[in-house]
């Protein structure tokens, strides 16, 4: 493990959120270790015990969490990812992300009952509205076209029937 890059003198602003990530790593590593401890010895033809690699992975994950916490305290800050549509000059828009996650959760909760043709349309329209689209009628129309289109595309073009949910027999 090389950690010479942890030192970045001059920047004394600590990214506190990074402690959260460090804690997550320690917890995740700890969970992997606990899970590994619950495993039994392998069969006679298993020279590598089922818990060997989990012990290594869990241990290193926890260690990395500690190292990250140390680095954070010493002023190490992350380089958040840039992108074509990313504007890092403003803070994180928590509301948009939360609402998007809600839309995705709704899709997960409803897909078995309503079927992809309906939830897919809602997923598209909901995401578009959350992301700032103003014309929800058009959003819904595009969403329906996409979801029903993809349902038939899979069924006719690829021969794969996507479960239809309550529209079973209608589509």
């Amino acid at each position: 493990m090389t950690t010479p890059d942890l030192d970045r003198p001059g920047s004394r602003v600590v990214d506190k959120a990074q402690y959260g990530l460090a804690a997550f790593l320690v917890l995740a590593g700890g969970y992997v270790l606990v899970d590994a401890a619950g495993l039994e010895d392998g069969f006679a033809d298993q020279p590598v015990q089922p818990y060997t690699i989990p012990y290594v992975v869990g241990g290193v994950l926890a260690l990395l969490g500690v190292l990250l916490a140390v680095a954070t305290a010493r002023g190490d800050r992350p380089e958040a990812e840039e992108g074509e549509d990313v504007d890092l000059t403003q803070g994180t828009d928590v509301r948009t992300v939360g609402l998007l996650a809600l839309v995705l959760v709704a899709n997960i909760a409803l897909i078995d009952v309503l079927g992809w043709a309906i939830t897919g349309a809602l997923l598209f329209a909901g995401s578009a509205v959350v992301l700032g689209s103003r014309s929800w009628v058009r959003d819904l129309a595009v969403g329906v076209a996409l979801s029903v289109g993809s349902w038939y595309g899979f069924y006719v073009g690829l021969g794969i029937p996507i479960p239809a949910g309550i529209l079973d027999g209608v589509l």
């Binding site: 690699i53 990395l64 074509e84």
Partner: protein, 509 residues
């Protein structure tokens, strides 16, 4: 040779040509969209290719592969923001050219350069891959184990900006790779029977690339529209040709070997190519203000290295870039056992793919030069629709694997992980490679120790394994030395340091 001709025979049937053209168009269309790099293009379009027969799927996939890469460089030139690290340079010089009214020439030199580099690199692949494969089949498990460790180490420590974060990504990936019952006992399944077979790598890839990216962009959506430079038909004058052809060839020479090493990646060769062209150019003053050499060389290097990464992928089953990782997933999805025996077991498949790459590359040039103005229009797609569409197709892709809502939940959980990785600057590539190679690593270790009956010294009993460990030790020493010498700037890989900082300044300017 006969095998290659057979491959062409498969690739050139009218039906498969159609699939190749479809792949090129789909790949370019999706790759052009802002925020979508080649790896995400492949991940999103993967389910589409699953549905046709294996050889058609591979041909279509080759088209998507080259199309996605070309689409990415179009975006970099017309918007000054690279989709991935290997097109940083293209963005610098290409966008400067576009702003100076030479967008058409920049697109042309990128497209033709990619074609030249892709063609040469594909021919090199025909020559190199079988020879590497011949050597590789003589290796035992200890050597594979060593090579895999090297690939993991190199992708994590040599390529990334922050080594600590690289290792965090890698070990998160290895932990995800542990999930399942491959050892006969349930590991990390949380008592959930649906996790018994492990987490589908398609779900992991789509979640990290698509959902993570969409959430990340949503948190930082640019409210003011980007300036998009209008573009006409790409063309080049005689002078542009004169200034482009040497950089194309030199870029290819840089790109292919770097890609073919099991520690590949396109960043280093593109930076090297840029630095070389700057030194050799008769117009050094134009660099940083839109020099055509600065687009021609790095674009060729990028493409040649992308083709080079297929050597370790096909001969060893080792992916070294995110794109190659998705490709490996695709091959496994078509039902092929990837790894050292792939060339022997499925020569028709490998040669079909190698021939398709050539065909796809040619189609790319024919189709995309005239269509560049149309692709540029795609950049104007309203952002809410773009990202809603990404979420829609990502969900469809993950759902279509098994038609289980559970996969969508996994998609969201790993997508949220992807969001936080972007927030904390943790690279995605080591994680993906960790998920793929982790289980294989354990498998090779088991095989090696089974043969040696538990004697650990077998791991360094083969010459290749010893060489690999020595190389890794040297890399470690080099990194430590570079870190001691310049502690402040040590966050870049040692060899790229000088150019790298250079570029960072250019980007910020």
């Amino acid at each position: 040779m006969d095998l290659l001709l057979d491959g062409f025979q498969t690739a050139l049937t009218p039906e498969n040509l159609l699939f190749a053209a479809l792949g090129v168009l789909l790949g370019t269309a999706v790759g052009v969209l802002p925020g979508i790099g080649p790896a995400m293009t492949l991940a999103l379009l993967l389910p589409v290719t699953y549905s046709v027969g294996a050889d058609s799927a591979i041909i279509m996939f080759a088209g998507i592969y080259y199309g996605g890469m070309y689409g990415g460089s179009t975006t970099s030139i017309l918007l000054n923001t690279p989709g991935e690290s290997s097109s940083v340079i293209t963005a610098i010089e290409g966008n400067k050219m576009a702003k100076a009214g030479r967008a058409a020439q920049a697109l042309a030199t990128a497209a033709i350069g990619s074609f030249v580099a892709g063609s040469i690199a594909t021919v090199l692949l025909w020559i190199v891959t079988p020879q590497v494969a011949d050597i590789v089949v003589t290796l035992g498990s200890p050597s594979y184990f060593a090579l895999m460790v090297l690939a993991l180490f190199a992708v994590t420590a040599v390529l990334g900006a922050s080594k600590l974060r690289g290792f965090i990504g890698l070990f998160l990936g290895l932990a995800i790779g542990l999930v399942g019952t491959s050892t006969g006992q349930a590991r990390l399944t949380f008592g959930e029977p649906l996790l018994a077979d492990g987490i589908d790598i398609v779900v992991v890839a789509v979640a990290l690339f698509a959902i993570g990216e969409a959430l990340w962009v949503a948190a930082h959506l640019r409210r003011k529209p980007l300036e998009i430079i209008p573009v006409g038909q790409p063309w080049m004058s005689r002078e542009d040709w004169g200034r482009s052809w040497k950089p194309w060839l030199r870029g290819t020479a840089f790109g292919f070997p770097f890609g073919a090493l099991p520690a590949g990646g396109a960043e280093l060769p593109t930076f090297l190519s840029y630095a070389t062209e700057k030194k050799l150019s008769k117009h050094p003053e134009e660099f940083g203000r839109g020099a055509i050499e600065g687009v021609a060389g790095p674009e060729a290097a990028n493409n040649a290295s992308a083709a080079g990464t297929l050597v370790p992928l096909l001969a060893l089953g080792l992916p070294t870039t995110a794109t190659a990782a998705i490709m490996l997933v695709a091959l496994q999805g078509y039902g092929f056992q990837t790894g050292p025996t792939l060339m022997d077991d499925h020569p028709d498949l490998v040669w079909g793919l190698l021939a398709s790459l050539f065909v796809a590359n040619a189609l790319l040039l024919v189709l995309n030069l005239p269509m560049a103005p149309l692709w540029a229009k795609l950049l104007r797609i309203p952002r809410p629709y773009l990202y809603a569409g990404i979420l829609f197709f990502a969900s469809l892709g993950a759902y279509s694997v098994n038609f289980q809502a559970f996969d969508l939940a996994l998609l969201l959980v790993i997508g949220v992980l992807g969001f936080f990785m972007r927030r904390f600057g943790i690279p995605v590539l080591p994680l993906i490679i960790g998920v793929i190679l982790g289980p294989k690593l354990e498998e090779q270790l088991t095989t090696a120790l089974k043969i040696s009956q538990g004697d650990v010294s077998t791991l360094w009993s083969e010459p290749v394994a010893v060489v690999v460990y020595v190389v890794m030790a040297l890399l470690l020493v080099a990194m430590a030395v570079a870190g001691l010498r310049r502690p402040a700037a040590a966050e870049h890989s040692p060899a790229a340091d000088a150019d790298d900082t250079d570029e960072k300044e250019l980007v910020e300017r």
